[in-house]
C-alpha cells in the first residue's frame, strides 16, 4: 500500500507531540531512517509541508503572508497580526512580510486558503472596472 505524504506527516506528528526536544530529535532521526528504508526520502519536502500544516492546525497557529507597498512599522505589524488572529480565530499568528511598490499602498493578506486584497492597486482596478461598465 502506498503511503501518502500527509499520512507520513500525521504519523510524525503523533510520534513527536508532547515529547521533549531531545525526544523529538530522536523521533525525527528514526523517522528519516524509516523514509530512507522505504525509499521515500524524495517526499521529504512534502512531508515537512504537511507536518507544518498539521502542527499549526493542532496548535492553533496561522501562517500569514502580508504584502505592502512600503516596509511596515512594528505597530502596524502588531495590528495586522491581531487582525489576522481575530479573523482566523487562531492562538498565534506567524507573519511573513513582503514589499512590492507596485501595489501603491495598503496590504494584501494571505492566510490559509484566503486572500484579503486591500491594496490601492486593486481598489483602482475595481474602480476602473466600474467606470468601464
Amino acid at each position: 500500500m502506498k503511503i501518502t505524504a500527509k499520512q507520513f506527516a500525521l504519523s510524525l506528528y503523533d510520534a513527536a507531540d508532547g515529547k521533549t526536544p531531545v525526544q523529538v530529535k530522536a523521533v525525527i532521526e528514526k523517522f528519516v531512517l524509516l523514509l530512507a528504508k522505504k525509499s521515500q526520502l524524495a517526499k521529504a519536502e512534502k512531508i515537512i509541508a504537511e507536518f507544518l500544516k498539521i502542527w499549526n492546525e493542532k496548535h492553533g497557529i496561522t501562517e500569514a503572508k502580508v504584502l505592502s507597498a512600503k516596509k511596515l512599522s512594528r505597530e502596524t505589524v502588531k495590528q495586522l497580526k491581531d487582525y489576522i488572529k481575530k479573523l482566523s480565530k487562531a492562538n498565534e499568528v506567524t507573519m511573513e512580510e513582503g514589499v512590492d511598490e507596485n501595489i501603491l499602498g495598503g496590504v494584501i493578506i494571505r492566510y490559509g486558503d484566503r486572500i484579503l486584497d486591500g491594496s490601492l492597486k486593486t481598489s483602482l482596478a475595481e474602480l476602473k472596472n466600474k467606470m468601464v461598465k
Binding site: V107, L120, K128, V132
Partner: protein
C-alpha cells in the same frame, strides 16, 4: 250538222286520218317528251322541296347553332369573367402579400441595422470608457504614487483592518 260539214268541206276520211295522226304524234310526244319532262320536273320539284327542307333544317340548325354559340359565348364570357376576377383577386392578394413581405423585410433590415448600430455604439462607448478609465486610473496612480507616503499608507492599512 250536214250543213256544217258542207260549209267547212270536211272529209270524214281525212278527219279520221288526222285524228289517228294526232293520236300517234300525241303518244310519241307523250312517251318521248312529255313523260320524261314530267319525270325530270318531278325530280327537280322533289329536289327543290328537299333543298328547301334542307335549307330550312340548316336554317334551324344554324339558328340552334347560333343559340348554342351565344350560350357558349355567354358561358365562356362568364367563365372568362370569373377567371379574370379570380386572377385579379389572386394578383391583389399576391400584391398585398408582397407588400407585407417587403414591409417585414424592410422592418427586419431596419431592426438589424438598428441593432448593429446599437452594438457598434455600445462597443465605441465601451472603448471610449475604457480609454477614459485607463487615462484616469493612470493619472490617479501617478498622483497617488507620488503622494502616498508611509504615514498615509499606515492610515490606509488601519482603515482596512478596522
Amino acid at each position: 250538222m250536214e250543213n256544217l260539214i258542207e260549209t267547212f268541206h270536211i272529209d270524214w276520211r281525212i278527219f279520221i286520218a288526222q285524228i289517228i295522226n294526232f293520236t300517234i304524234v300525241f303518244l310519241v310526244l307523250y312517251w318521248f317528251a312529255f313523260k320524261p319532262l314530267v319525270k325530270v320536273m318531278a325530280e327537280r320539284s322533289g329536289k327543290i322541296v328537299k333543298s328547301l327542307d334542307e335549307a330550312k333544317l340548316i336554317e334551324e340548325k344554324l339558328s340552334q347553332t347560333k343559340e348554342e354559340f351565344n350560350k357558349t359565348m355567354a358561358e365562356a364570357k362568364k367563365q372568362a369573367g370569373a377567371i379574370l376576377e379570380k386572377a385579379a383577386a389572386e394578383a391583389d392578394a399576391k400584391k398585398k402579400e408582397t407588400v407585407i413581405r417587403a414591409k417585414e423585410e424592410i422592418g427586419a433590415i431596419i431592426n438589424q441595422e438598428k441593432q448593429k448600430m446599437q452594438t457598434e455604439k455600445a462597443a465605441t462607448l465601451k472603448e471610449i470608457k475604457k480609454e477614459v478609465a485607463d487615462l484616469v486610473i493612470a493619472a490617479v496612480e501617478k498622483v497617488l504614487g507620488e503622494k502616498m507616503d508611509e504615514k498615509k499608507d499606515r492610515e490606509m492599512i488601519k482603515k482596512i483592518i478596522k
